[in-house]
Amino acid sequence: MKLSKVALGVSLGLGAMGAQAADVLFFPYVVSSSTVTTIVDVIDNGGAAIQRYNSAGVAGTGAGFNRLHWRLNYKDGANATSNSARCSEVDYYLPSSPQDLQSVDLSAHFGSTTKGVLFNDPSINNNWNGTIGSLTYALASNVTAPMRGVLFVHNEDIATATNASLSGDAMIFEFANGAAWGYRAIMHENNTNAANASDFDLDGSATTNGSQVAFMPSAEVTTRLFVTPLDDVNAGNTGDLNNTGAGTTPVTMLAASGASISGWDRFTAAVSLQTGAGVAYDRDENLVSGSVGVQVTCVGAADVHADMMTSGASTQLADGGYGQLNIAQPSAASGIATTPNAVVTYLSFSAAGATTFNGENVDGVFNNGFRIP
């Protein structure tokens, strides 16, 4: 597990006990490769009273406390397509300011000379040779391509009134051929000034178990589900990213041993299609059996035809059909933290080798993605 964090004078402050609530932006699927990158927009709508971080990761307001915590949990290189690998982590405290918008190419395919920040962004924090030194907004630019991961951007907002101050969206951009899809970032706002435990409680955004998913003919369209397991508050598995102790100590998610203490590198859920007594219905309302489950740790993908059913079922469903998504908690095992919650993102795109849609010629490729609520 690689740690790529540049600590600028991390200091363990034994300061006063402060509330550790935060606004958390969660991007459940980000990716980069030689043909694909992820462009994220992060809007910091908070005012000066919102607690942000300084370069050392200490929370506060006022001069010097102008950073958000960006953290990428990722699988890279050979692990990128492994559903079972745990995630590595890279995180930085990066400047922000009230009413700021940062549009960032996480892999710096675009904006390689501006630390991944796009579109002539002159705002105060983008002082390239100044405050952020060797850090970068393109958190995925220092990992081994290809990369698949999840991104967190958060502040340390302690307001008790509802006062969401962060929002964002992501665009998965296949720049080699122009296809793109995207989603709104999930925003969790902790406005109860409670203990750390609920800062990163994102399981309210989990995809509803039993959601129905349609898929198109396998020869023409590949339907892929991206699965991001979430914390499980009920099990006390809170996925807290903030800190191990009290006070405004620097945020770290790694224990001395290098293992993630927050669980976001190893949350594990299982997905399958369970429709009636079978896997899916074909287009003539026939039920087909042959459901196969897929276990995913941190972030991963399952192709509906290739991974989530037997080839016998897939043949009977060659024209497509629909199934009901089942998200379940896997059996416990060492090294993973099992959870019954996950965000599932649906992506359908032209199948490898496909040149038709509905049997008719189509020029170009397409993809269509959306989060399944």
């Binding site: 043909t35 080699a176 051929n177 003919p217 020869a219 299982a270 399958s272 009636g276 007594a277 079978g278 003539d284 309302e285 026939n286 039920l287 087909v288 059996s289 042959g290 459901s291 196969v292 489950g293 897929v294 276990q295 290739a306 059913m309 037997t310 080839s311 016998g312 079922a313 897939s314 043949t315 009977q316 060659a318 024209d319 896997p330 059996s331 032209s350 490898a352 080798g353 496909a354 040149t355 049997g359 010629n361 170009g364 490729v365």
Partner: protein
């Protein structure tokens, strides 16, 4: 197609002496099918020996094709939405066909070939779905089995039930009888004038395999349990072999139901006791389809097509196996893989088995194999007696530059006496045209088939073809470059379409640098030195790329007696070949 049918029919009625010396096998085009899909056709041999086929033309109309009378429309109403298909003999020279219609009235309909305008509804409010099985009765009527979704009050946890009905030779239909819960209606003759009906249904979190017996007297016996397993997937089915009733399915073991095993059971006491069996050497084979054949004296052959699904490994390509039993299912021989390991770069997604010959003692196995880039039907044939192989893995000499594929729902091999009809689908290189083909042979012709000359790729010629492509790139001879692309790409994209994608890259050097052969596929190292001269793009900015000197891997294919470059677009992940 009418011309072909007339010629086909003419051959049937010519006196034997007037028949020309037969080229091995006759190819008859029975009609145009939708470009893809399963369950779009069915075929049957009537007791007199005629080969019937029913097909959905482009899914809009259902036709019957008879050996004598050509096309018989069964359902051509543009307001209808027919689906599902089953055939059964209705006497010496007639057949029953069954289909499910949705509009204007949803029901299951039986129609006989000699009275195609009379549709007999048999579903009677069971809300039938389109999986239908037919079995002839000796008096010219038929038994029909389907499944329907009418809610059953006293069994609310079973939303689907199998129903059985009967129609007599005059078209009088009875009342549907509810047989078993389930979604896969399956029936076989019991060998004594009755039927055996099988079903798979969920019960208390597991899957129960169950059966009921219909006696020749029409009495339906009680439900008997065959097995209870965690979960099942198709392929599943049943067959009769020398007095034993066999049923098989694919069991899904493991927490994630991905530990796959073909299992089954047989009974020889009317279904009271069942002996389980499983094809353990093929555990983890994700079987796509299974074709079962029995010679009537205890010899059984199972042809399976599947891909290995081993934990932690990527999915393999489809390959085909044959598993035989010589003692009516008590023991199963080690599986025989029906293709060499060297062909694993390609798929073989379908296989069919049948015992042919007047004594049904010669095993014929067909394999749909894509190892030569276009799909071929390859075959294995035993000597009389069924033990030794007379022909192993030979390509059938089917004409033309087509891909020939085997159907999913049909047995494929229809043999009676000395006549053999092989039903297959024929696709063009663009995969837009798909025709149902009947390849007719006598047993004698089958044994004397001369396979096409094996394709020995010419390595020397590979280098000169690759260099010819390189020279075309350097010299900007786009027509010459286009002509070197694979026929599947050229079937879909014409020269002008190709031209649109060319021109920006300037090649200084483009040449063959080495290759590795695997059958008809050559992985070629292609050395290029190229640049993109500056040009003004649509954005108004100047674009270009400096000269690069690289070796890129490209794939060349030996097809139609020469080497062609396989079109692959890295960025778009597009290719036009399908092996």
């Amino acid at each position: 197609m009418r011309y072909l049918l007339r010629a086909f029919v003419a051959l049937l009625i010519l006196p034997a002496s007037a028949l020309p010396v037969a080229a091995a096998g006759e190819v008859a085009d029975l009609g145009a099918l939708p470009p893809s899909g399963i369950g779009t056709w069915a075929a049957l041999r009537d007791p007199r020996g005629g080969l019937w086929a029913a097909l959905y033309h482009h899914r809009k109309a259902l036709f019957l094709v008879s050996p004598d009378a050509g096309e018989i429309p069964l359902m051509t109403d543009p307001q209808a939405a027919p689906s599902g298909l089953a055939l059964a003999p209705a006497g010496k020279d007639r057949v029953w066909a069954a289909f499910r219609n949705k509009l204007p009235t949803r029901d299951l309909y039986l129609v006989r070939s000699d009275a195609p305008k009379s549709l007999f509804p048999v579903g009677r409010g069971t809300l039938p779905l389109a999986r239908i099985r037919l079995a002839a009765d000796p008096q010219g009527g038929a038994w029909v089995l389907w499944y329907g979704e009418r809610p059953v009050k006293d069994a609310p946890d079973q939303p689907y039930w199998l129903y059985l009905n009967h129609i007599d030779a005059q078209g009088e239909a009875g009342t549907p009888r509810r047989v078993l819960p389930g979604v896969y209606p399956t029936l076989i003759p019991d060998g004594a004038g009755g039927l055996v009906i099988f079903s798979w249904y969920r019960d208390a979190g597991r899957t129960r395999v169950a059966m009921r017996h219909l006696g020749a007297d029409g009495v339906l016996g009680p439900e008997r349990s065959v097995a209870t397993v965690p979960q099942v997937s198709p392929p599943l089915g049943a067959f009769l072999s020398a007095g034993r009733w066999f049923v098989y399915w694919e069991t899904q073991y493991g927490e994630y139901h991905d530990d796959l095993l073909i299992e089954g059971a047989y009974s020889e006491d009317g279904g009271r006791t069942w002996h389980r069996f499983s094809l353990d050497p093929l555990r983890h084979l994700d079987v796509r389809d299974l074709s079962a054949a029995a010679d009537g004296s205890g010899g059984i052959a199972l042809a399976l097509a599947g891909r290995w699904r081993n934990p932690g490994e990527p999915l393999g390509r489809f390959t085909a196996f044959l598993v035989r039993s010589q003692d009516n299912g008590a023991h199963w021989e080690a599986p025989l893989e029906l293709r060499p390991a060297s062909s694993h770069y390609s798929n073989a997604p379908e296989a069919k088995a049948a015992f042919v010959g007047p004594k049904k003692d010669r095993l014929l196995v067909l394999v749909e194999d894509w190892r030569n880039i276009r799909a071929q039907v390859r075959y294995w044939l035993t000597a009389p007696g069924g033990k030794a192989w007379a022909v192993r893995d030979a390509a059938m000499p089917l004409p033309g530059r087509y891909s020939y594929t085997l159907g999913y729902s049909d047995p494929g091999i229809h043999a009676a006496g000395k006549r053999i009809d092989l039903l297959m689908e024929r696709k063009d290189d663009a995969f837009t045209e798909n025709h149902l083909i009947d390849y007719r042979l006598t047993l004698d012709e089958l044994t004397r088939l001369e396979p096409p000359a094996p394709a020995f790729p010419d390595l020397a010629r590979l280098k000169s073809r690759v260099n010819a492509y390189g020279q075309a790139l350097v010299g900007k001879d786009y027509q010459a470059a286009y002509d070197l692309f694979d026929p599947f790409y050229r079937a879909r994209v014409d020269f002008l379409g190709f031209l649109k994608t060319q021109g920006r890259i300037r090649y200084e050097v483009a040449e063959y640098q080495g290759s590795k052969l695997q059958g008809p596929v050559a992985e070629v190292q292609f050395h290029i030195r190229a640049s993109v001269p500056k040009f003004r793009g649509r954005s108004g900015r100047e674009l270009g790329a400096p000269e690069r000197d690289v070796v890129i891997p490209v794939r060349w294919l030996w097809i139609d007696g020469d080497w062609y470059m396989e079109y692959r677009s890295e960025a778009r992940g597009i290719r036009y070949t399908r092996y």
